[in-house]
Amino acid sequence: MPTLAQLQTSISSLLDLPGMPAVLQLNSPTRERAFEAYVFSLLVAAIREAGGTAEIVGRISGPNPGVVIFRGGPGLLGSNAQDFVYANCTLGNRRFEIHVDVLYEGTSEAIHELDVSVYDHDAAQRVRQAPNMFAKTNKLYAAIECKCYGETLGTSLGRTFVGLVADCGKLELDSFVTNGLSQGLVRYFSPTNRPNRFFRLSPLHPAHEREFIDFVKQTLRKWAKVA
């Protein structure tokens, strides 16, 4: 078995890698945005694996933009202030879109931020005709809360997400995902009526990544009535 001294050596070698100090200096909002984009890419992969299509579209430039621009903070689905991207998807007869960091109007008319969401394509097209309008959650199919590991990962985030989902109407998929672990959240999400949760979702844990992709695939295939 490798010794603790070897652990120390491996950590030192990691910190000594050129470019690593810059990575470790990234502030918490930057890490959050990167994790959300990663979860977006896993959804894209899941839809393609499920036999569907997922085309990356820039709000202004159209399909396959040269530079992929994500929102730096929550914003309107139809915003044309920047060339924000979304994934235009088909699966069976369903047409839908995947968005990152969009503000939605819930059933109570309160405004909610959703890290990664799946929204009806036709409804999104209508919202884009009025870019300053909040998309309503009645055409929202999936809500995913993403949390990059940090000191604030605790049960309060789970409570907030449960409250948010309750104001979104019926969803086909609702999940809380993080690249870290919180035993408090494991317990909080354990009752069967709570949203699904995925811990240690990261390229360093391929089995967990696979579990999440398979879950999304199965859920969306069932919803789209694809065998």
């Binding site: 990575v23 990234l26 930057t30 994500f70 915003s79 690249n179 408090g184 990261s202």
Partner: protein, 145 residues
């Protein structure tokens, strides 16, 4: 009998010092604040309840496990961005505020550019190695209060 074996306490202290040296003081501070909060542990029986939960100070192994969790989850961001690039196919990935000056949180692009110097394969190998050794030594992340 005296030994000069490396302990989890030594590694934890060195890791924090190294993080501060490479300019990641914010991450080191976050680790210290987290371990200072203590650990939640279930208690089978107490004078008051049949089953209860108590708060106790973080042990040296748990402090190191927490530091490793923070470092590995922060260091894997470039690996995630590689996945994003391969899924979206664009030449570059950026984050922009909807309107300049309206952002509530600052997304720092400069370090992301700096991170491009990183050898992703080497980083991935070392991160996997660190996680495996920590698992072997049962350096499990506790339930932080």
């Amino acid at each position: 009998m005296a030994t000069n074996e490396t302990t989890s306490k030594d590694i934890y202290a060195e890791v924090l010092a190294r993080l501060r040296k490479v300019g990641a003081a914010a991450l080191a501070d976050e680790i210290e604040r987290t371990v200072a909060r203590g650990v939640v542990v279930p208690q089978p029986e107490s004078k008051l309840y049949q089953k209860s939960t108590v708060l106790r100070p973080t042990t040296d192994d748990e402090k190191l496990a927490t530091a490793i969790e923070f470092i590995t989850t922060a260091a894997e961001i470039p690996l995630m961005l590689e996945r994003v690039r391969s899924a979206v196919g664009g030449a570059d990935v950026k984050w922009l505020p909807e309107r300049l000056g309206t952002e509530r949180e600052e997304v720092s692009m400069v370090p992301i550019q700096g991170a491009k110097k990183l050898d992703i394969d080497k980083a991935s190998k070392l991160l996997t190695e660190i996680i495996a050794i920590a698992d072997d030594h049962k350096l499990n992340l506790p339930e932080i209060a």
